[in-house]
């Protein structure tokens, strides 16, 4: 009997967080679960409460609602939401130092092209996409109609689309091809927007604008929170309520791995039918020649290694820019600069030091035997330094992972009836968190650290991970022969590099790991930590490069110098 009075008041109880109100005899509201009486009384149901921002309420019941308050919710499409999110992400990148032209000159046209290709905008016959209504909630669908997760919910915005198309016609719009019915299904799937696609789009845009941000850098920024991704929907304008079936699109609880974003980017590039990218020549920081300098510095390896890395690249024939630039005609696989560069460095180390748990120590011993000045690069001391720093950094990363908070401040709920218990859970979690924060006097979550390109800091400063070995000389491990330098190490080993014929086999690394030399495994771990990828991923890349090296020769013959100018290898089988 008092239900109609209390149905509009959906505040959770202060004491027990339940939403179950009754009205006592005096006309006061009380909580049915814990009998907590509050000040609110029946007569004073002030509707102005409903619109204040810190209470959960439903705004508007239909298009005829007119309110005088500032908050006014609108109907919007999923792609509009994603557009906002992309804009926020681009702004964050600009703040981090990406050049300003990136946002308007590269990302924006790419986004419009995507909308056009997926026929969500800039087209004469738009496909239906997820819509969010003004009430913030889809009307409850009868069981005969679409299933809950179908993304083909009726859009109520034919008018929306035409207005947005009219507003933002750009010189990029090409006439859309009349899609044939066979390709319609596949295209629609490719055109479905997800949060992961935003990252893929940004990665493609960064590669186009030749910024020195690789995919692993981008993912690291996302993980540290410098680029909005998890709970990005919180930054949408207040008028755009994220609730209902379509809200699933915006809910993320994982940051995707390098591999999955790469696959997404690859698919995107083909879907968008992009032309050849601007070439990535040897002077561009994304090119492995320059990128390797950065990774060598980060791994505390001597700068003297850099010419050897470049020599290796040339030897394999990958110095040329065409291997590192996407081109639909010539090289239709999106290049992975970061993983490739790391693989090159590892292989160079393998050439110079052997890395079979024996040769490298022998070579180092010989090198440092006669060294009085301490200038020679000592692999042993390098290993100790880097191993301790790596272990420390890995445990710090684990601690940060344990402390990270994933839940948004404004929880998303998919059905109207879920709102109560979702809010209740949030309140309970908050209270427990507050209690323990007070007890431990340390707030939950991670303290923000400043973004950095490097994983380690080598030098003599107070906060450094250890002394820098960049200026050490490699002369000790090389021998002079006429006018050329050769590595003293004369042997090279590799795992089976033939392509595995099984389709579902992603990597043999887990089974091989225990039999590989520990030094090699350590290098893999180091670089996979720096790039935040799985060691098996990097291992496969190393094998791919080795395949390229040995493919140019037939098996079983002695490998001599390629030509007199590059004195790199002197491998005796």
């Amino acid at each position: 009997m008092d239900d109609e009075d209390t149905v509009s008041f959906r505040d959770p109880c202060v004491q027990c967080s339940a939403v179950d109100w009754g009205i006592s005899d005096e006309g006061r509201f009380f909580c049915r679960s814990c009998h907590n009486v509050i000040e609110r009384t029946r007569e004073v149901v002030d509707t102005s409460f409903l619109f204040s921002s810190n209470k959960i309420s439903s705004i508007g019941t239909g298009p005829t609602t007119t309110t005088t308050t500032a908050e006014r919710s609108v109907s919007w499409l999923a792609c509009e939401g994603f557009q906002f999110i992309l804009k926020n992400q681009a702004d964050a990148l600009l703040r981090l130092g990406v050049r300003p032209d990136f946002k308007d000159g590269v990302l924006c046209p790419l986004w419009r092209r995507f909308l056009q290709k997926s026929r969500q905008a800039f087209t004469h016959n738009p496909v239906r996409s997820t819509a969010f209504t003004a009430s913030g909630m889809e009307p409850e669908v009868e069981s005969g109609t679409d299933s809950v997760w179908s993304l083909d919910a009726l859009s109520d915005g034919e008018s929306n689309l035409s207005s947005s198309a009219a507003d933002s016609r750009s010189d990029w719009s090409e006439s859309s091809d009349a899609p044939s019915s066979q390709r319609r299904g596949r295209r629609r799937r490719r055109g479905v927007l997800t949060m992961k696609k935003t990252l893929a789009l940004i990665h493609v845009a960064l590669m186009w604008s030749r910024e020195p941000l690789t995919l692993s850098d981008l993912l690291r920024l996302v993980n540290e929170g410098h680029v909005p991704y998890v709970n990005a929907h919180q930054d949408l304008p207040d008028q755009m309520k994220v609730a209902g079936k379509g809200a699933m699109l915006f809910k993320v609880e994982t940051v995707p791995s390098h591999q999955s974003v790469y696959k997404e980017a690859q698919a995107l590039v083909l879907f968008l039918q992009l032309p050849a990218f601007p070439p990535i020549s040897g002077q561009v920081p994304l090119h492995p020649a320059l990128l390797s300098l950065r990774y060598l510095t980060d791994a505390n390896l001597p700068d003297d290694l850099h010419p050897w890395v470049c020599q290796l690249m040339e030897h394999v024939g990958m110095q040329d820019e065409k291997f590192h630039t996407f081109n639909p005609g010539h090289c239709s696989v999106l290049p992975r600069h970061d993983v490739l560069t790391a693989a090159f460095i590892i292989i160079t180390m393998k050439f110079l030091f052997g890395l079979d748990d024996r040769t490298e120590w022998e070579v180092t011993n010989k090198a440092c035997l006669n060294d009085d000045s301490g200038e020679m690069f000592n692999l042993r001391s390098w290993y100790q330094l880097v191993q301790t720093a790596l272990t420390r950094a890995q445990s710090r990363r684990e601690e940060d992972a344990a402390r990270r908070q994933w839940k948004p401040h404004k929880p998303i709920y998919f059905r109207r009836k879920d709102r109560c218990w979702v809010t209740k859970k949030k309140r309970i979690a908050e209270q427990v968190q507050l209690c323990f924060e007070k007890l431990s006097s340390r707030p939950a979550g991670i303290q923000d650290h400043r973004p950095s390109t490097f994983g380690f800091c080598w030098g003599d400063g107070v906060d450094s991970d250890g002394p820098a070995l960049h200026h050490a000389r490699l002369a000790g491990i090389l021998t002079q022969n006429t006018s050329f330098l050769f590595p003293s190490n004369g042997s090279y080993w590799h795992s089976g590099i033939r392509d595995c014929s099984q389709r579902n086999c992603s990597s043999h690394y887990p089974s091989l790991q225990s039999s590989l030399p520990r030094s090699f495994v350590f290098l893999l771990e180091l670089f996979s930590f720096l790039l935040d990828v799985a060691p098996s991923y990097l291992f496969e890349e190393v094998l791919a490069v080795e395949r390229k090296i040995f493919e140019t020769r037939s098996f079983g013959t002695k490998i001599r110098q390629k030509n007199s100018d590059s004195a790199l290898l002197n491998i005796n089988d």
Partner: protein, 427 residues
């Protein structure tokens, strides 16, 4: 890696050590003083989903567990603050599991953390109580225990009263079970209040005075509930003691006796030796006849032959001066001595000696003894009491015992050649 100092070692020191030795990463060829830290690669499968809510919460849980195991309570509290987000997870399959984990861990941390206050406890209990329905009753119970232990009896009672009237959905068997428990403890709290009132009232006051009336009210409340509870089969030891105490105070012996008899002899109740003990103690307090006492103790003997009340039982039997009873007494004492806890007890042996002496007045006492000893005639009983080791030990610690035991060896084990004798100790 344990003996390796993670600090920086200057390069020159390393080279001095490694001058003329060929050493690999870790093998010890020659005397390699320096050991390089081993590479400990992470297993390859671990890298699957490194950045996600599930991963974060599972690592957080591990960290809390480690911190708790090593008693680093401040650290545990820090991680607990970060772990609270698991409650918000909308996946309902494991929701109640997570809530239970949070409840139990949070209370454990509060128990040990130096800065925890009663408000923290109250806050956590209240939150977790209303977080779900599965654990509501148990959390209520635990909360009220906690309040009781810290002296907040009224609050504890309030909690239990609120819990008692709580119902949710279909009443499951588990729910009914827990509700009974809650009812029982509420009556216990009534009893505690009653005790308080009893001790604080002035002795000269009128029976009908105000404070006494309050006291009587509590008694009534408690007794009604307890009577209800005690009808259910179960082990209700602390409750029955309270009830009987209250009844004795109000001099309602009949009721007390009835309740105790039912508790001890009702077949629906699980076998409980304590029931017989309580009954016996009550009867003794009210000077019941020996026959009754013996009957109760006979029941107890069937349950627990090694109970200490068996000493009293044997004394009673001996006092009755009947032949049959003397035989029973012998059996009882020998049963006691089957257990090694009575091995060195002087009382038992003294009584045994008295019984034997009494027995020896009969004609065929040897047959009786032999009959009782038939199951013990294998070497195990004598090995329990009469070996040379026992001889030396008893000679050192307890010479009186030695005397009594020595006198009984020949009687109890006539056939076996035992070294246990007063003269034997000189060997």
């Amino acid at each position: 890696m344990d003996d390796f100092d993670p600090g920086l070692i200057p390069i020159c020191d390393l080279e001095k050590d490694e001058d003329d030795e060929v050493s690999d990463g870790g093998s010890s060829k020659g005397s390699c003083k320096l050991r390089l830290p081993w590479v400990k690669p992470k297993p390859a499968e671990q890298h699957k989903l490194q950045h996600g809510f599930q991963h974060s919460t599972s690592i957080c849980l591990e960290q809390i567990r480690e911190a708790m195991l090593h008693h680093r309570w401040e650290e545990a509290a820090e991680y607990m603050a970060c772990y609270a987000q698991i409650i918000e997870d909308q996946d309902t399959t494991h929701a109640s599991q997570y809530k239970e984990v949070v409840w139990r861990m949070a209370t454990e941390i509060l128990h040990h953390h130096p800065k925890s206050t009663i408000e923290d406890y109250n806050s956590i209990y209240e939150r977790m109580k209303y977080s779900g329905v599965k654990h509501y009753l148990m959390i209520c119970l635990e909360h009220s225990f906690h309040l009781l232990l810290h002296g907040w009896t009224e609050d504890a009672k309030q909690q239990l009263t609120a819990a008692e009237s709580w119902r949710h959905g279909k009443e499951s068997a588990g729910q009914l079970h827990r509700l009974k428990l809650i009812q029982a403890y509420r009556s216990l709290l009534d009893y505690i209040t009653w005790c308080d009132k009893k001790s604080t009232r002035s002795n000269n006051s009128n029976w009908e005075s105000d404070e006494n009336v309050i006291m009587h009210n509590y008694f009534r409340q408690a007794s009604v509930n307890l009577k209800e509870i005690l009808k259910n089969p179960g082990v209700w030891d602390p409750f029955i003691l309270c009830y009987v105490k209250m009844l004795e105070f109000y001099e309602d012996q009949e009721e007390a006796l009835k309740v105790l008899n039912e508790y001890a002899y009702d077949d629906n109740f699980p076998p409980n030796p304590n029931a017989h003990v309580y009954l016996y103690q009550h009867l003794k307090r009210y000077n019941a006849s020996e026959k009754k006492l013996m009957k109760v103790l006979k029941g107890l003997h069937a349950f627990v032959p090694s109970h200490e009340l068996m000493l009293e039982y044997s004394s009673l039997l001996l006092q009755s001066a009947k032949e049959k009873h003397t035989h029973t007494a012998l059996g009882v004492l020998l049963d006691m001595l089957d257990f090694s806890c009575w091995r060195n007890n002087l009382d038992v042996w003294t009584r045994l000696k008295a019984v034997i002496q009494e027995l020896q007045k009969e004609a065929d006492w040897e047959a009786v003894v032999a009959e009782k000893m038939v199951t013990r005639k294998d070497w195990w009983w004598s090995a329990l009491h009469f070996t040379r080791f026992h001889l030396s030990k008893d000679a050192e610690e307890n010479p009186e015992l030695l005397k009594i035991k020595a006198s009984l060896t020949k009687i109890l084990c006539p056939d076996l050649p035992l070294k246990y004798s007063a003269e034997g100790q000189n060997q």
